[in-house]
């Protein structure tokens, strides 16, 4: 992982300029709800913004990257306890 334009002590990349990335907690919901929620959160954000999704539905492991690919978003998934943390960097596409 590289973030060349950011100093290491800046913390997580900002969702909006000057703010923490929005975290969408979709744990306990099932497909397609995690994708719907993260799409809603992403809808009004500019390209390059970051959104975090927490989901424990195993189908999200397929559908979140599939949706991100359709929209041109970049996604990294990391297991975290009994759920997965999806970090999405938005591309130029909408929602």
């Amino acid at each position: 992982m590289t973030a060349p334009e950011r100093a290491p002590d800046d913390g997580p990349p900002a969702g909006r300029p000057g703010g923490e990335p929005p975290v969408v907690d979709a744990r306990g919901t099932r497909c397609p709800v995690p994708v719907v929620r993260v799409a809603r959160a992403a809808r009004d954000l500019p390209a390059g913004a970051t959104v975090v999704l927490l989901a424990d539905d195993e189908i999200a492991a397929v559908d979140v990257p599939a949706w991100a690919w359709l929209r041109g978003h970049h996604v990294d998934a990391e297991p975290e306890g009994t759920w997965t943390r999806y970090v999405l960097v938005l591309g130029a596409g909408t929602g």
């Binding site: 497909c31 719907v36 809808r43 189908i59 397929v62 559908d63 990257p65 599939a66 949706w67 690919w69």
Partner: protein, 392 residues
């Protein structure tokens, strides 16, 4: 007993048994196959291994049907066995290859989009990945073949869920080069798409793919190293525990005979209908049409509706008397989505799978496709509005 007559079966749907059927994975029988089945129930009910008159009659009819079905598969009649289901035929076919190669090893190489009946038998071997359109990674497959202890390789002619054809000739050549026997799974393509001639040491098909009853067909070429463990099985070239019910085999043979001459013409018209459906689905906002647009089965198409669950789409189309399949979770008894869609890395929710019946089975299939094309934009918009996701 007050009443010894049972209730009659309910009347079929108006417009014929196949009206609105866009899910022919297990479709209605070809009408002449259905007629054959009825007649054969009176004529060929006996166990074909019996020496009495009815048994001999059933045996004679079975032999004739076997010749027809062997021709369909491109094998000799004595290389063909008939099994209760395509899954059984796949399972037995693979088991025979593995057992014959047990001194070499137990590994079975298979693509990630093979049928579940195959993938549950590949053990710990990771399946070979496919592209986003569903084509197996030939280089990865060749590398897997070269690893020691490889007993067999399994490849489908084409995928029955997304329609994408596989590079059978290239894989067959690589398997021959590596000295690994190939099981070719034609269970969704036989009768709909030409079978690559001579490919596969073992070939498996399903009579349901060409308008027959669901029936597994297993061809083991005579040169293939193949054998089952345990005591010799009594029926079907030593491959089945019991002889098939002959009327089903006769119905399957009749379906093949009826379909064979018209197969090319049927495939051409099915391909045009699927092209129309792919265009109509692709024109709806946020609908992902899946599978190779060109190098595919003529009669299969799958698409996924973003933000909507598959169950809702299938139910809504059913309200319009259109029967479609789905690879989404929750649309059948399974809670897991299709492993095929997952292997492609495409959406698994909101999935609609169309498998066109043969025109001879469903004379109105073009009307059904037109109706689906016309309904789809409003159905999708209506569902998204109802689910509160129309603004996404």
């Amino acid at each position: 007993m007050a009443n010894t007559t049972s209730d009659p079966l309910p009347a079929g749907p108006p417009g014929g048994v196949a009206a609105g059927c866009l899910d022919a994975t297990r479709g209605p029988l070809h009408p002449l196959a259905a007629a054959t089945l009825g007649a054969a129930a009176d004529l060929a009910w006996a166990d074909p291994t019996r020496r009495h008159g009815p048994g001999r009659r059933a045996r004679g009819l079975l032999d004739t049907a076997r010749e027809v079905l062997a021709g369909a598969l491109g094998v000799r009649p004595d290389e063909l066995s008939v099994h209760a289901s395509a899954e059984d035929a796949l399972s037995v076919g693979l088991e025979g290859l593995r057992h014959a190669r047990r001194r070499v090893g137990e590994r079975v190489v298979a693509s990630a989009v093979e049928r579940t009946a195959v993938l549950v038998r590949t053990g710990d071997e990771a399946p070979v990945p496919v592209s986003r359109s569903g084509v197996v990674d030939v280089a990865a497959l060749v590398a897997a073949l070269a690893r020691p202890g490889t007993a067999a390789v399994v490849l489908q002619t084409a995928n029955g869920e997304v329609g994408t054809r596989q590079p059978v000739a290239a894989v067959a050549a690589a398997a021959r080069e590596a000295g690994v026997p190939l099981l070719l799974d034609a269970t969704t393509s036989l009768g709909r798409d030409p079978l690559p001639a001579g490919a596969g040491d073992v070939v498996v098909a399903d009579a349901a793919s060409f308008g027959g009853p669901p029936l597994g067909l297993l061809g083991v070429r005579s040169g293939a190293r193949w054998g089952l463990p345990g005591p010799r099985r009594e029926a079907e070239q030593g491959r089945a525990l019991a002889a098939p019910w002959v009327p089903l085999v006769l119905a399957a043979a009749e379906a093949w005979r009826q379909g064979e001459a018209a197969a090319d013409e049927d495939a051409t018209s099915a391909r045009a209908l699927v092209d129309r459906l792919r265009a109509a689905a692709g024109a709806v906002p946020d609908v992902q049409v899946v599978g190779d647009p060109q190098d595919r089965l003529p009669h299969v198409v799958t698409f996924s509706v973003l933000y909507v669950d598959g169950e809702t789409v299938v139910d809504e189309l059913a309200r319009h008397d259109l029967a479609v399949g789905s690879g989404s979770a929750c649309t059948s008894s399974t809670l897991r989505p299709s492993h095929v869609l997952a292997a492609l890395g495409v959406l698994t929710h909101g999935n609609v799978r169309v498998t066109l019946p043969l025109a001879s089975v469903s004379p109105h299939r073009a009307d059904d496709v037109d109706r689906l094309c016309a309904l789809l934009p409003d159905v999708v918009a209506g569902l998204r509005a109802r689910l509160g996701v129309a603004d996404l």
